[in-house]
Each structure stands twice: as C-alpha cells, then as structure tokens.
Symmetry: D2
Amino acid sequence: MEPTYTLVISCPDRTGIVAKVSNFLAMYGGWITEANHHSDLQANRFFMRHEIRADSLPFSLDEFRTAFAPIAREFEMDWYISDSEIKKRVVLMCSKESHCLVDLLYRWHSGELACDIPCVISNHEDMRSIVEWHGIPYHHVPVNKENKEEAFTQIEALVDQAQADTLVLARYMQILPPNLCQKYTGRVINIHHSFLPSFVGAKPYHQAFVRGVKLIGATCHYVTEELDAGPIIEQDIHRVNHRHTPEDLVRIGKDVEKAVLARGLRWHLQDRIICCGNKTVVFN
Amino acid sequence: MEPTYTLVISCPDRTGIVAKVSNFLAMYGGWITEANHHSDLQANRFFMRHEIRADSLPFSLDEFRTAFAPIAREFEMDWYISDSEIKKRVVLMCSKESHCLVDLLYRWHSGELACDIPCVISNHEDMRSIVEWHGIPYHHVPVNKENKEEAFTQIEALVDQAQADTLVLARYMQILPPNLCQKYTGRVINIHHSFLPSFVGAKPYHQAFVRGVKLIGATCHYVTEELDAGPIIEQDIHRVNHRHTPEDLVRIGKDVEKAVLARGLRWHLQDRIICCGNKTVVFN
Amino acid sequence: MEPTYTLVISCPDRTGIVAKVSNFLAMYGGWITEANHHSDLQANRFFMRHEIRADSLPFSLDEFRTAFAPIAREFEMDWYISDSEIKKRVVLMCSKESHCLVDLLYRWHSGELACDIPCVISNHEDMRSIVEWHGIPYHHVPVNKENKEEAFTQIEALVDQAQADTLVLARYMQILPPNLCQKYTGRVINIHHSFLPSFVGAKPYHQAFVRGVKLIGATCHYVTEELDAGPIIEQDIHRVNHRHTPEDLVRIGKDVEKAVLARGLRWHLQDRIICCGNKTVVFN
Amino acid sequence: MEPTYTLVISCPDRTGIVAKVSNFLAMYGGWITEANHHSDLQANRFFMRHEIRADSLPFSLDEFRTAFAPIAREFEMDWYISDSEIKKRVVLMCSKESHCLVDLLYRWHSGELACDIPCVISNHEDMRSIVEWHGIPYHHVPVNKENKEEAFTQIEALVDQAQADTLVLARYMQILPPNLCQKYTGRVINIHHSFLPSFVGAKPYHQAFVRGVKLIGATCHYVTEELDAGPIIEQDIHRVNHRHTPEDLVRIGKDVEKAVLARGLRWHLQDRIICCGNKTVVFN
C-alpha cells in the first residue's frame, strides 16, 4: 500500500465546495485514489473524504494544514487530515468474555487492522495470557461499586499514558462515566449485543428469546452519555428459530458481534466515519 | 402434488408420544412424507407435525378424528388434522397501499399460495380494479372515528359470510377491535413495517431514519389485543445507509414486507406454525 | 423530486479531472446533490457520476453538451448527460413465465421505476391480459427454429418503432441474435436464474439441485454475444436445504430473480452503472 | 448439558420405520430431546436423527447396539449411535494461512466445539506458536513434489496414532492422495474459498475479481477424490462491489470461510450430517 493522506471534511452545504477542494488538491498535483461525498439534505450539511497519495503532494501534514486553513475557514469546515503512516493508537477494554477481544487481537496480529494497540485494560485477569502472547501489556483494573471513581481515574491515566486515540469496549460490561464519554467523544466504540434500538440494557439475548424474535443482531456504535443511544456505526443480524435456546442465541450472537465490531473499528481506523448529529455517515 | 393430511399436535412433553402417534399411523399404513418434532424445554411442551399421504390411510378426516381421539385425550393434546384438498379461506384486508396486497394476489394467481380468497375488504376504493381483475369481490368499508363500531360489525359480517379461516392485514392500517382479535385468535396475520420490537407504532421507517439504523426490517406476526406484540412468525431485514432518505427506507422496506408476509402466510396455510405462549414454533 | 441532470463520465485516470469538472459545474452555479467517483487501478480508468439540480444550471442539455465538450476532449472522456425529466423508454420481453414481468409492471405502475414502457414483446400470448390491464401494448411475436431470423427482424422493427433505449429480458428464454446484442450493447438487461458463473445455460435450478448447493442465486447482467457471460450488474442468493425439491428451488429462486432484476433495472434507469471491460461500476 | 446418545439412521423409505424406532425407544423409557426426519423422494431413502437423554435408557452404547440390531437389519439401515460424553478426535491440518485454524482453535478453547484436538499437522512451521499456546502438539510435515508419497505416509501414521475420527483441512492447500480420501470417506472436511461450483481450483478470489461478481462465497464440503466436488455441507456469501480489490476479496472471504467451516464442523461433531449420494442432509 502506498502511503496516503486522508482528508475528512464536514461543513454546511453550498455550491462550490468540491470545486474549491479539488482545485486545491489538483493545483499541488494531488493524486486522489478514493473520493466520497455526501449531502445530508435534512441537516443541510456536506461530507467529504479524500484519500490522496502522500508522495503526490509537496506537503507534510502540518504544511497541508497551514495551506488548507483558509479554505476551511471560508467554508466553516470541521476537518482533519491523517497520514496512513501514522497508525491510530487503540486501547482495548474487556471483561471476562473473550470473543470480541480475541477476534480483534487476531485481526491486528494478522495485519488486517492497521493500528497500534498500546495496551489492554480489563476489570478481570482472565484475558492476560492471550493478550501477553500477542506481546501487548495487560492492565488489570478491578471495578466495583465502591471503587468506581478511583478505578476510572486509574483507567483514564492508563489511556493518557498510552496516548490512545481510540477506546474499544470489546464487551467491557462496565458503563463509562460521563466525563470519559465527553473527553473521548466520537472515539469510544462499543459493541452492543442486540439489534438496537431493540433490547436496550442488560441481557438482550434473553430479552430476545422471551420475545420470540426470528433474527438476532448486534450494533456497533459510538458511546455517548446516554446508554446504548449513541450514533450507530454498523449492524448485522443472524437468523434464529424456535429450536434455539438462550445459550444458542448467545453463541450465535457472538459471531455477529465480532463481525460488526471488527467492521466498525476498521472503518474508524480508516477515517471513514463522520458523525452528523446522532447518526453516522460511513464512506465504506 | 399428492393429497395429504396434515396432523398438528401440541401437548405436555413426556416419553412415548412419538411412539404412540407413529404406531397409530403405521397400524393404518400411513405414509409419512414429512415429520417435524420440537420439545420446548422451558415450557415443557411438545410439538409435532406430520404430513401423511391421504390415500395411504383408510380414513376420511372425520373418521381419523374419531379414531385418534383416545390418544389425544390420553396425552392432553391440542390438535387438529387438515386436508390439503380443502383450501383455507383467506380474507385480505388492505388500505391504500398496494404492495403487499398485489404481491399476495400475484402469488395466489400464479398458484404459489394454496388458498381461496373469497374477498378483499378495504377502507378505501383504490385497490378495487386490480382485485377485480383477479376475479375477486371487493368490499369497500370506510372506517373513521365516528363509525368504527358499525364498520367492524359490517366487516365481521363479511368475514362470516365469506366463511373465512384466516384474515390477512396486508397493510390495513386500522387497529382491529379486541372482540375480533379474540374471535380470530391465531388466525389474523399482520405485517409490521419494522424489525419488532424496535419502532412499535406509527411511522416506523421515520423512526428508523431518525435513529440512524443500518438495517431496516419487517415483522409478520399474529394479531393480539396488544398492538404489535403478538407472536412473531417471521422477520427479515435489508441493509441501508446514510444515503437513504425516509422515502428510500419506505421503498426498500416494502420489498422486505412483501417477502416476510408471503412467507408467513404460506407457512400458516400449510399448518406449519404452532403458537406456544407468545412465541411461535415454525416447522419450515 | 427536483428535476436533475445526471453527468456520467469514464476516462483514463490522471490528476485534475475532478477539479476540472467540479470547477466547470461551480462556475455555472451547479448544485450537486449526489457525487460518486471511482478509480480502477488495474484498468487505470476513472469513473464519475454527478446528479445536479437542473434549475441550478443556466443550460439546456444541448447547451451543456456544447459547453462541456472541450473538457471532455481534453480528458478523452466517454460521457453523457441525461435529464431526469426525460424518461428512458424500456421494452420488456417475456415468455410464459410471469414473475419478473409482473413484478416490473407493478413497480412501474406504483411509480417506483421512472421509465416509460412503450410495449411488451413476447413469443407467447399468456401475459397479454395483465399487460393490457396496465395500459401497455402487447406484441406477440412467435419464435421457433424456422422463423428465427424473421422473428427477430420483426422484433427489431418493434423496438425501433418504440424508440426504446433499453431492452429487458424478463425471463424471455430466447437467445438474442448477435446483431441485436451489438446494436444494443450495454442496453439489454437479462436476469439469469443462477449465481453466475455457476450453472451457465439451461435449467440452472435443476443443476443446483443435483449439485446439492445450500444457496441458490440469481444474476442480473448486460447481454453480450457470449451466453450468460456479460457484465454482472447485481446478484443475490437465498438459503435452501435438503428438504427443498427442484420445484421449491424454482419457487424460491423466482423471488431472488425479481429482486435482483428490479434493482439492476432501477440502477440502469438512474444511470448508475458504467461498464469497464466485462465488469460494472455501480454507483448505488 | 445432560449427556445424550445420538442415533443416526439412513435406510430405504417405507412405512413403519418411525413407529418401530420410536416404539423401541419408548419401550425402554428413552426421553427424546430432539428428533429429525427426512424422506428423500428422489432417492427413496429415509433419514432420521434422535437425541436421547442417556440416563433415560437402561443401556450402555454396546448394549444399545445389540438390542437395536434386529430392527436395523429388518429395515436395512445404515446407522450408528454416539455418546455426547465421548468426544470426537479431530486433527486439524493447515498451511501458512492462519484464519481458519486460529478461528477453530479459539472456538475449541472457548468450549464452543465439543471435540478433542489431538494434534495439528502442517506443511509449514508458521502456526506452531499459537497452536502450542493452546496446549496442542504441532507436527511439521513438509510436502513437496519429490516427497509427496512419504509425506502422506507420515501424515497417515500421525493421524492413526492420534486415533482421529475426523480431519479438517483448514486451508491446507495440499491435495489429499486418493487412498486417504477413501480411508476417511465422510470424515475429511474441507473449506473451499468460493461459492462452489463457481471457481473450482486455484485462486478463486482472483477468478471472482476477473468475472466481476457482486457476491463472494465459501463452501464447506466433504473431501472426495474428485477435487472440490464432494458433498456440500454449508455455504455462505458476502456482498462485494467494484471498489474491492482482489486483496479485499481475500480479506472479506476469510470471514466467510471461517464462519462456514466452523458451522460445518460443529454439525459434523454433533452427527447432524448424513451423506446421500453426493449431497448432504443436514439436521440443523
């Protein structure tokens, strides 16, 4: 893969945005390898993502930022540019359940997820061995009713120390405190084990069993202060029937969760997701 | 297709049920072409469905009923037997939206749905022409806040007169009164335009759009007094994304609704569905 | 829906294309409501599709063509512009099987397919009544071994007379002669009742049954001279199992065929498909 | 999970089979927890699978075999009975690609696959570390053009020594010699990285890319002497489009392969698959 810069823009919709941006890129010889646009007619906002061959531009990232700033101001853009050579730093958080964690570790190990994983944080010891086999530090931070505040202070320190861009709650089973949700807005990814908004809250597979649904699902979303209500990134389902016990739903659901979380994280790492209110634009 | 008898049984679970029933059938030379069993371990109930070549048995339906009654009593069975030569009588009810109605009419016309359709009942005139093209009587029964009681009395009379077994609410958009829900328990099939239990009630596609889901669905279920809460027969979904407007969700959803309702009705006509509490066993 | 112009471009890939085109549009105030780009790195070709609000441009289609011609020449573009107010003219061709034809007629009638259907051509009389109910002329052109050449000459005349842009073989079951394939390159859409390239040729569901596959599919593709080998537009599948007879595969397959053909035709009508060699770029 | 016996029967179809078998079970108090039947009308064969609570029968497996033998003879049954307490012994074979192997190891480790894995055999060293982390012996048996016969003699010895019931080719990339195919008929499971019968042979994803398909698939099948032509156990697909490179198809395909192989192996371990000619009956 050639190194690329990824330019991601969100701004009020009007004519001339694409012309201005593509002129800027063309003027400097920028070779666009992928371009995506979207106009949200309800929100009257425009979204844009370009992948540009880094070696086609005469800029470092900082120089690009300086050169592009006047355009960004003119169009009131929320924007950033990232460099495929600088990997995102992703802290994984897990509890006792292994399926999502091990799946992400495998994908990272096999080169499918282009990120660094500075550490894994868990409220249990169970996953230490497999994490350490992958050469990744493992931090055990127990969380209970009494120590919640200290525990999350410690977690915040670990995340800061790890210089993490992104937190992934790989079935972490603890609710992040509001201050962390705010601090990492748009950078905490959770996997919920139901097809949201069905079965918000605890034990969704058992809720699904009782309701007798014929499909079970999983939802990958950004975490916000309101539980299970953040912007949805990806969802998928699997068919079930009357023969399936609650345990079967859990087992089948795990495969859906793994797939949905891995896709969501991959798109996040590639800067393919832009939030628009409580919804996402996903350029995949 | 050879004529078949279909024997459908639900009873408390215990050993010896299959032996007793299959002995009975074997003793009279019954040639079983399809057999399904299910034990619901939570409810401790047993479910069974046999298709038997009618010409392999020395019985009329009534004679079968008499001969089988002692076994049914012994095992406290809820049971019935049906004859593939006697088609179910299905009244379709619709409003202004055509997609589910026309889809069912087509399937019936092309021989895919083995039932009689004695009439279509609608609170609007819109669908008269296409229904009458199919040679089916069309009854226009307007429903509004003032005339609700009379309207449903008239509908009940039409259904009685049609000697209907089954009502299909093909996007009928009116809520059946409790007395009709009770009178036709397990025989009124509705299509809900969301993946229940998400988005109960009105305008589910608009609710789905606002929530930013990545899949939209439809649910075919038996109607009970509680709105959108009856036993689920079948569900399916289709993938959507940020480019889809509410109108797109409606359009895409229509295809899901058609498919899900047609499958649900087909299984109902073939006596493949048994209710167990608020859930269904579907032998498909 | 606001009237839109759709600008579709395919050209050798190089830097500056997007800048030039979007500048051109911006200069004249063009309001882009949807934009798609794709670089085929293997073929070194660039593909681009814009929807532009017609009332935002000071051009008629012809004026646009004149104004844009220099850019098109400079970048060696294959290109066209279409007007959403000028509907494509689609001739449907069918045989005895009704499912795809009736599905397309329904979608057209309900406003889901934005095209004109000047006529239906069939080698059988079976579909006349339902076609005429829709107010569409029906031409019966029998085809057999002896009259093939004349029959297709007659068909060509009917298509010419209908001023058709597009032919849809809605399970037509006859092979178009090479001269027609060439004359309407990229404008004849076929539905093949298998997941190509599996089961090329006749009776694919029976081939699938014999092979014991667990999924059956359908493929919508542009017709070329080589049978079942043209550019694939869309495919889908449905799950089957050991209980399904060949007749079941046919029945289930019909639903897949309908869905796949309808999607393919919809994208064609919206100028969302560009051929690249024997493959398609589909901006959907 | 209560210990269960699983009774699997295949025999010529006739009346009275179910009666005889269920009588036998009922006579001894057998508590059936799951029962499945299938009549293959083309092959005129009957298939049957029962799960019976082991503690409800007064038999050891050997005593069951003796007691049931007369019925089996009378109906010319191919049959066996297995005990959920006696796990199948599965040898995994892999090459350099890790995805299927690691997925199966994870599922085994987390208790999702009820089998023993006495060893992994590979023609490369790459997977040794992760296999040994799971506490499973790893045998490196290089295979090349010159040593093929010896290599497979050595492999056969390792398999014999491991007292294996089942071989899983988890992307092994070598063709088993005919004598091994015969020796382990119905017990060697392969994952083919295409939707068979499309793209038989080498590099199916590249074949798929060239053909421009819109779905890619994977097929789990029993190995027979004819390459990629054995009985299909399970298949699945994933949607792709023009943006996907051959590398993307490979990456996406890996997830399909893992899922399909895991399902196929699970059903095999649970004695849910019966071969009928070159097809499978899968009671899932």
